[in-house]
Symmetry: C2
Subunit: 151 residues, 2 copies
């Protein structure tokens, strides 16, 4: 599944894409945020071939994004639930969603929107911010190669 070129890459973006960056993984995770847990539910929702779904779920479990556990309804079947690591993908999915909402829909076109349960209002657009809270664009940042844990 992983390519040797990106696997040991020191760029975190590359590593992330290697783990969850294929066509279906992020769709599966999106569904999981919508409380889908069982194989057949994922398959119905996504329309993906069962062999592909099986291989993706297996990979996502191996990498620690999902846990497999007995179904909560007491049946003998399994369910796939996001680990904390998986839940923390939420900002990625929301930023993908917001970009699509803004640039990929015609005015008047039907779409699904993400609402805050408490207020019923749409969530805020996500922004990159500096330590002091200022909004940062791509030109306000730079990458630096660094060893973690250095003094």
């Amino acid at each position: 599944m992983e390519t040797a070129s990106t696997q040991n890459n020191e760029c975190p973006v590359a590593r992330t894409l290697d783990v969850i960056g294929d066509r279906w993984s992020l769709m599966i995770i999106r569904d999981a945020f919508d409380d889908i847990r069982r194989f057949s539910e994922f398959q119905k929702s996504l329309g993906v071939a069962k062999n592909i779904l099986a291989s993706r779920l297996k990979a996502l479990v191996e990498v620690g994004v999902f846990d497999v556990r007995p179904a909560s309804d007491g049946s003998a079947y399994k369910e796939y639930v996001l680990t904390e690591k998986g839940q923390e993908i939420f900002p990625v999915v929301v930023s993908l969603r917001q970009w699509g909402e803004r640039f990929l829909f015609e005015p008047g076109e039907t779409r699904s929107v993400l609402l805050d349960n408490a207020s019923g209002q749409a969530v805020m657009p996500m922004e990159v911010r500096s330590a002091s809270g200022a909004k940062l664009g791509p030109l306000d940042c730079h990458r630096l190669r660094r060893v973690d844990g250095e003094s």
Copy 2:
């Protein structure tokens, strides 16, 4: 390139992944945020086959993420620069990066980090927020199907 199943999907996440959700597109865009502009620079940075790079750049230009224009150094060659639509992918790339930094590196391992030019400090972790500014987790939100522009 696009699948019929996701193309007319009303889920913005699905549409976004259809446009920029393949193995290389987001890597190309990440490089663009790092001021890479020319074909040969992308190729050298990514190590991707030239035909794949060419097809991705072409698709990304068609979809309005990149503009092609004459090289800024006055030579007869081209360069690929992000449109506004492309620049707005920044939050997606940063959230991918931050997830990878947090979950995909061992302590002490070399990585690249993203710093604010002004302060030299790392950027803040991205968060999903409600209209009132409260941090929202996946359980605090729900999706709703809606027609845009309704009164």
